[in-house]
């Protein structure tokens, strides 16, 4: 599948991923994240069930401390 991940086009052999699988694949190990699929927030509790499929636009925002 091809997806837009943080505004970059990325291709994966898999046909679909759960959010958890995508984060693992990309090595996104930050604990604090905001994930949106096609503009809709995916809550943490839904990471294991929410699916990313071909053509999706995915935003993963890493939250870091400081302010």
């Amino acid at each position: 599948m091809k997806i837009q991940l943080n505004n970059n086009q990325e291709t994966f052999p898999a046909e679909k991923f759960t959010v958890t699988e995508l984060l693992k694949q990309k090595n996104f190990t930050f604990k604090m994240l905001i994930v949106k699929i096609n503009g809709t927030l995916v809550k943490k509790a839904e990471y294991d069930s929410a699916e990313v499929i071909d053509g999706d636009e995915v935003m993963v925002l890493h939250l870091i401390s400081g302010g």
């Binding site: 604990k31 604090m32 994240l33 905001i34 927030l41 935003m59 925002l61 870091i64 401390s65 302010g67």
Partner: protein
């Protein structure tokens, strides 16, 4: 627009500020100077000496509640501002009520888990509101890594990389840049919405 015209628009606007630390105190002061009508500021902390390397407080305000101190400082700059302060910890339960009347909300927390909580709450409970987030401003130098980008109704200001650490503290210059960048986005949003 002349400054008189700008003030006329902004005096009818309300901005929420979540946190009155490095980002929140500096952003609040910038917004007070341009004459935002009402600021709704929430923080549960007190001013400590270690805050003075970046936060808009003074040595004689150490141990004061940040909500008390920021109100004093804002009113010293611009006594016309309606400053509503809330000395409490923001939670998913109180955020929607507290910021209900705000035209724009500024995320000004220091800890990543709090940023996550606020953004999640906003995107879930009040997705129609503009949210201006500060993300990544520890250390010094690297001016050209600081940017602002829009994702839906959310604006992200910072370098999105520099996390605070013992050897990479948040200090005045970069925190000041990002907090003023947040204020700059707020002003831009409020003046544009008037035009349209």
């Amino acid at each position: 627009m002349t400054f008189e015209e700008i003030k006329k628009v902004l005096k009818n606007k309300t901005v929420g500020i979540a946190g009155a630390g490095g980002l929140g105190s500096n952003c609040a002061v910038a917004l007070a100077r341009v004459g935002i009508g009402k600021l709704v500021i929430a923080d549960f902390d007190v001013v400590s000496e270690s805050n003075l390397n970046r936060q808009y407080y003074f040595y004689d305000q150490v141990n004061q509640k940040k909500t008390t101190a920021i109100r004093t400082n804002i009113l010293r700059i611009n006594p016309e501002i309606n400053v509503e302060t809330h000395d409490l910890k923001l939670t998913p339960a109180n955020i929607p009520t507290l910021f209900a009347d705000c035209d724009v909300i500024v995320e000004a927390f220091d800890l990543a888990d709090q940023k996550e909580m606020l953004i999640e709450t906003m995107l879930t409970e009040m997705p129609e509101k503009f949210l201006v987030v500060g993300l990544g401003m520890a250390g010094w130098g690297m001016n050209d890594t600081i940017h602002c980008r829009q994702v839906g109704k959310m604006f992200i200001c910072g370098d999105e990389i520099s996390e605070i650490a013992p050897d990479l503290p948040p200090i005045a210059p970069r925190v000041g840049i990002v907090s003023n960048m947040q204020a700059n986005v707020v002003v831009e949003l409020l003046l544009n919405s008037f035009k349209s």
